[in-house]
Each structure stands twice: as C-alpha cells, then as structure tokens.
C-alpha cells in the first residue's frame, strides 16, 4: 500500500517571458545614512542569469535560475515553482541611479543604491491668505 505519488516530470525553469508566470523573490530593504541596500533571495540564479534594469524611477530585477535537473526524474514532492524570478520597485528621486552597484552570490542578490549627495530635505513654505 503506497501513498499516491505525483508522477509528473520535473522541468527546469523556463527563461523569463514578458508575461510571466514569475516567482516573487523575498526582499529586504535597509537604509543607512548614505545608501539604500536591497537584498533579494533568488536561489539558483548566478550572474549570467541576472538582469537588473532601471527605467525612469522603476527598478526591475529578473533572475533566471540555472537548470539543475538530471534526466528522467519523477517529481514526488514539489514546493519549488519552476519559474524565473521577477520584481519591480519604484525608486525615490534622491538616489544616484547611475551609481547603483550589485552582486550575486549563493543565490542572494545585493544591490546598493547610493543616495544623492547633498540630498536634503526641502522646506516648503506655506503661504497663508
């Protein structure tokens, strides 16, 4: 008497397509006095599979996992979705968007977004009638 098994063939994640489906990576965002640091968990992704782009004020991170699968395996238990990672963020104006740096190691992406120097709070005068 055996348990019912899912007799599906595992597939490697397909490269990201414009329309998805995607996995949303878990992200931490921390702020220090000089910069914003973004950490994204993208297991299976190396620097070749990583795409980071900034358009206007939108930061988009895409990660295509490296295929790991051996041949002819039947999936018995699957908690990992076979999709690429994708997530987008709206950035504030006081960041130096051309000085963003990033690296990926052990499937963890670290992006540093420096704040613009001299970004100061502008006091807005309120006129009263």
């Amino acid at each position: 008497m055996t348990n019912e098994r899912h007799m599906t063939r595992r597939k490697n994640a397909e490269p990201a397509r414009e329309d998805g489906p995607f996995r949303t990576p878990a992200v931490d965002i921390r702020e220090t006095p000089g910069e914003l640091v973004l950490l994204a968990d993208m297991p299976g992704v190396d620097d070749k599979g990583l795409q980071v782009s900034i358009e206007e004020n939108t930061l988009t991170i895409v990660g295509n996992p490296v295929p790991t699968l051996p041949e002819n395996a039947r999936t018995l238990h699957a908690e990992i979705e076979p999709h690429a990672f994708r997530r987008a963020f709206t950035l504030s104006n006081d960041l130096q968007l051309d000085a963003v740096e990033g690296s990926i190691k052990h499937g963890l992406l670290t992006l540093t977004l420096p704040k613009a120097r001299g970004a100061k709070v502008r006091r807005i005068p309120i006129k009263s009638e």
Binding site: N3, L39, R74, I80
Partner: protein, 152 residues
C-alpha cells in the same frame, strides 16, 4: 461573582488533546513510507524542498539562498534525510532603517523519509547558487528494473 461550572479536566483537556493529536500526526508521519516533514522541527524558518526519483537515485533539492555552505548540515539516518543549519544575518545591524524585511533568517531543520532504500556511502551533496542538491543512489534491491510481463 458569577458561578462558573467546575468541570474536571476541561480546558486543559481540550487544548492538551489538540497538542497530543498534532504530535501523533508527526509520529505517524514518520511511520509511513515516503514523507516530507511539513513544518520542520523547531527552527525559525522552513526551506522549500523538492524530492524526485529516477530509476537509479533519489534527489532532494532545498532552496537556501544567501547561506554559506559551511552553515548547512546534511545527515542520513534510518532512511530519513535531515537538512539543518542556520542562516545568519549578512552584517551587523547598526544604524540601519529597515524598510522591508521578507527574507528568513535563523535556524532551520527539515526531514524527508526517503521513498526508497539508498546507499549511504554514495550520497553526494552539492551547494550551488544557494541551492542544495542531494543525490542519493538507490540500493541495489530498490532500483527499478523493468520487468517484461508476457501477456498470453
């Protein structure tokens, strides 16, 4: 002061009963054949797992992004594969404002009762890009051999 009926073993019984039932579920869980522990034992988070099987081997994959391989421990005992470890915070938390915290940290432990007998000495574990892949070759008697059945 209102009178509340006093019943022996009432509330303690109902909550204790629920706990006993959950524990029994865990034990039954490991009494059967193939099973993946759903919640992990203690620990602060649970890594996503995938288990697959081919004719010659069982493969268990775990997502452990951002971990150092030396903080991961893989053990095999009595047909149960256990993956445990601790994911440390990247840097000291000083002078930082946290805008978003979704990632998991801390200790984890998760077990899988394997679907077939394996050769303990031939188990291979690789950690690449934050994914741990454990390949467990099946023991001789467990390998699926195609048997041709003649139909009269």
């Amino acid at each position: 002061m209102s009178l509340i009926p006093w019943r022996k073993r009432d509330a303690a019984g109902s909550i204790g009963g629920l706990q006993r039932e959950m524990n029994r579920m865990f034990d039954d869980f490991f009494g059967r054949d193939f099973a993946v522990e759903p919640f992990g034992r203690g620990g602060e988070w649970v890594p996503a797992l995938e288990v697959s099987e081919s004719d010659n081997a069982v493969a268990v994959k775990a997502e452990l992004p951002g971990m150092d391989p030396k903080d991961v421990e893989v053990t095999l005992a009595n047909g149960v594969l256990t993956i445990k470890g601790e994911k440390k915070q990247e840097s000291e938390t000083k002078e930082k404002n946290f805008h978003l915290v979704e990632r998991s940290y801390g200790s984890f432990q998760r077990s899988v009762r394997l679907p077939a007998a394996v050769k303990p000495d031939a188990v291979d574990a690789k950690f690449k890009n934050g994914v741990l892949t454990v390949e467990l070759p099946k023991a001789e008697e467990a390998r699926t051999k195609a048997v041709k059945i003649n139909v009269e």
